[in-house]
């Protein structure tokens, strides 16, 4: 068998081998059970609580959880704005990079506190090392914040009636210290041994073999890349992200980085099974997510390995597949695998340029973000999936003529309204954003010529991708888009903000309200949710919502481009 394909299969197997035990561990972390690592982490956590003046055993209801979450996010927003607009004179700036303009700082700030990591700047030229470190801070804590929100929903799904859903800071601190920090450290060390830099010196100047003088950007890359991959952050240290040979030097680091993308999102599903003591439910959810993932993955790999038909027309062989925007050390299959990994989760790092991929792969990448629940971002991916479960329970309930119940709790009008609003919010943000941008462009293509790097259908895809990535809090891009303008910075920033916080507020509110309801024990009339049939029902709901919402837009972009390829 082709070694590119066996490489992909090996990466997937490695992922499962690590994610299942990690899921159990995460489950223990959230339910405060004993683990082997308590000796190190309990004192560390206590130090966090003590220095912050927090009593981690105070119980919160869902409203208090959200209040704590939003308050700390506002603090992060202010901190980031302050640093990014003043980088030029602050310390750790050996390359003399400039401060950000207000609109770019707004976009970058929102993008990093929301775990999106959309980048309208390029790291080498637009960031000081202090700026990079502050962004790295958000890569830890925004991921921890998403996991904490997810933990609240997990705990709320337990079979009991209560409004006491644990403590936000407890979930947050533990997610950061006991999951993200140790894993990042391990990854960073692996990168160090493979030639990823970790230095605070500025650019180096060398002479090439042919005699050209070139500069090489350096920086504290290894520490940064580790958490970038693990926390579904995705914002690269360098402009071209993990295509850069210092950010991702070889196939081994590529394997580690790829596995890290899906590791925590997959583990969260198994953590759910552990916390609720419902392993079968976890496997059903995993099955639905995996089915969606594979349906996007397989055709992407096939088209990328086959190559770009337009290049074949020029009379060129493509033994390695479509190679524009790709690196020889990864190859087409591993690049397509990464592309679907990074878009199904809300990671958004890349090891090949999505803008240059074949139209079919571009579409599947967009679909991954449009659904945004096939594993999804750390924590928040499950929250999106939870919304689809609620919809599926309600629709199935109507079909068989029973009161819709999920895990012993009645789903009523109020929860359904919230679920519908959240489910429709995502297409609304993407399509309205793209429509406005297209309108502006179409009415004055010469004035906005710098926006699009490619003409025709592909140009439309660039705009559609940008809003899809923003709303899904993904952060990858069709990077040909000339997006560092006030219009793109501000409009994407707003889409990211809404696309982050409402989909956290909605599911936490639903779960909180359900937890407060009377528990109805399972009976013969209960709709079982841990069966394959119900899994298919959820999948159908996802497919229908995604297909109906996005098909027209996709038809104008990647689908039209695909059929124009000769």
């Amino acid at each position: 068998m082709n070694t590119e394909i066996t490489g992909v299969i090996a990466m997937f197997i490695l992922l499962l081998l690590l994610a299942i035990p990690l899921g159990r561990y995460i489950g223990k972390i959230f339910t405060n059970e004993k683990t082997w690592a308590d000796k190190i982490f309990t004192p560390l956590d206590n130090l966090f609580y003590k220095l912050s003046g927090i009593n981690s055993s105070t119980q919160m209801n869902w409203k208090q959880h959200l209040l704590a979450l939003l308050t700390i996010n506002i603090v992060w927003f202010l901190l980031s704005m302050l640093v990014l607009t003043n980088m030029s004179w602050l310390p750790l700036n050996p390359d003399g990079n400039p401060s950000m303009s207000a609109d770019l700082a707004f976009n970058t700030t929102v993008s990093f506190i929301s775990n999106t990591n959309l980048q309208h700047y390029s790291g080498e030229t637009g960031m000081s090392y202090l700026g990079q470190l502050v962004l790295m801070l958000f890569q830890f804590i925004s991921a921890g914040c998403g996991m904490a929100a997810c933990a609240v929903v997990f705990v709320a799904m337990k079979e009991r009636t209560t409004d006491q859903l644990g403590n936000f800071y407890f979930y947050f601190v533990r997610s950061c210290t006991r999951i993200l920090l140790p894993l990042s450290l391990v990854l960073a060390i692996i990168f160090l041994f493979n030639g990823t830099p970790m230095t605070f010196e500025g650019k180096d100047t060398t002479t090439t073999l042919q005699g050209d003088t070139v500069q090489v950007s350096r920086g504290p890359v290894a520490a940064f890349v580790a958490i970038k991959q693990l926390g579904t952050n995705g914002g690269g240290f360098y402009g071209p992200n993990s295509t850069h040979p210092l950010e991702n030097p070889n196939y081994f680091t590529n394997t580690v980085e790829t596995v890290a993308i899906l590791l925590i999102p997959v583990a969260m599903v198994f953590a759910l099974g552990y916390i609720l003591k419902r392993k079968k439910l976890a496997w059903v959810i995993f099955g639905v997510m995996l089915l969606g993932f594979l349906l996007l993955l397989v055709p992407s790999i096939i088209t990328e390995v086959k190559g770009n038909p337009a290049i074949t027309t020029l009379g060129i062989r493509q033994p390695m597949g479509s190679m524009e925007g790709k690196e020889v050390r990864f190859g087409a299959a591993a690049s397509a695998y990464w592309a679907i990994n990074t878009t199904c989760t809300s990671n958004g790092s890349v090891n090949a340029m999505h803008d240059s991929m074949t139209p079919a792969t571009g579409m599947f990448a967009m679909l991954g973000m449009m659904v945004n629940a096939f594993f999804g971002g750390v924590g928040v991916g499950f929250l999106n999936f939870y919304i689809f479960i609620i919809l599926a329970v309600f629709i199935s309930g109507l079909m068989v003529g029973r009161t819709p119940e999920f895990l012993g709790k009645k789903i009523e009008a109020k929860e359904m309204k919230i679920a519908m609003i959240i489910a429709l919010l995502h297409p609304f943000l993407i399509l309205v954003g793209t429509a406005i941008a297209s309108h502006i462009y179409a009415h004055n293509p010469t004035a906005y010529a710098a926006w699009l790097n490619n003409p025709g259908y592909h140009g439309f895809s660039e705009m559609l991708y940008e809003y899809t990535s923003s709303s899904a809090n993904n952060g990858s891009g069709f990077e040909g888009l000339g997006d560092n303008t006030p219009f793109w910075n501000i409009s994407c920033g707003i889409v990211i903000l809404i696309g982050r916080y409402l989909p956290i507020i909605g599911p936490v509110a639903i779960a909180g309200m359900l937890a407060n309801k009377k528990f109805v024990p399972e009976s013969a009339g209960t709709l079982k949710t841990d069966t394959g049939t119900f899994g298919l029902m959820v999948f159908a709901v996802i497919a229908i919502v995604a297909a109906l919402s996005f098909f027209p837009a996709l038809a104008l972009g990647p689908i039209a481009e695909h059929f124009s390829l000769k």
């Binding site: 308050t71 650019k203 500069q215 504290p220 071209p240 479509s322 240059s356």
Partner: protein
């Protein structure tokens, strides 16, 4: 909100200390124990230092060429072309690269050129080329350097890096290492 504000600020400060002071300091410390000491991998030849993993521009006929770079091989501002697969302007550029390649490699026909020779990498700094991409340049190198094709071919064979564990990924050749070895042939 008020009751959460002070803990939020204090917690953020603790996070700053742990995640962007202690964590990078630890990684930096460990870096000093690694072979590269936290620097990117380099090769030193005749007292000159080269970055192993950063592509260099090779235009001379006596050297194997790296893949085209949309970033002009600038390792302080890397990037890809971001051209879409159907972009007519892009396809013209590719055609131009094919023509240039054919002019410099007489005796090679178009269908012998593998695609990585005429497409730009994602970073613009791809240090590697595929095996066919090296083989297709052997004739030119041998002629320019007055070597037999077999000698050059043998050298190329020597520098093929196999897939990880023999079963994961691609075969590739580091262009810089290959060219340094070429210069070494007496």
């Amino acid at each position: 909100m008020k009751q959460h504000l002070l803990p939020a600020i204090r917690l953020t400060i603790v996070c700053i200390i742990v995640f962007i002071v202690i964590y990078p300091a630890v990684v930096w410390g460990i870096a000093q124990l690694t072979p590269n000491k936290g620097q990117a991998a380099t090769i030193t030849v005749n007292g000159k230092k080269y970055y192993t993993n950063i592509a260099q521009r090779f235009t001379a006929d006596k050297y194997f060429w790296s893949r085209p770079s949309a970033a002009a091989y600038n390792a302080a501002s890397a990037g890809g072309s971001n051209k879409g697969p159907t972009n007519p302007g892009y396809l013209k550029e590719v055609q131009l690269r094919i023509d240039t390649f054919l002019v410099h490699n007489p005796g090679i026909s178009k269908n012998e050129i593998p695609s990585d020779v005429i497409t730009a990498s994602g970073s613009g700094l791809d240090p590697d080329i595929s095996v066919p991409a090296a083989m297709v340049q052997v004739k030119r190198i041998a002629k320019t350097r007055n070597l037999s094709e077999a000698t050059v071919q043998q050298l190329v064979q020597q520098y093929i890096q196999q897939p990880l564990l023999g079963m994961m990924g691609t075969q590739r050749i580091n262009v810089l290492q290959l060219n340094l070895a070429l210069d070494n042939i007496k």
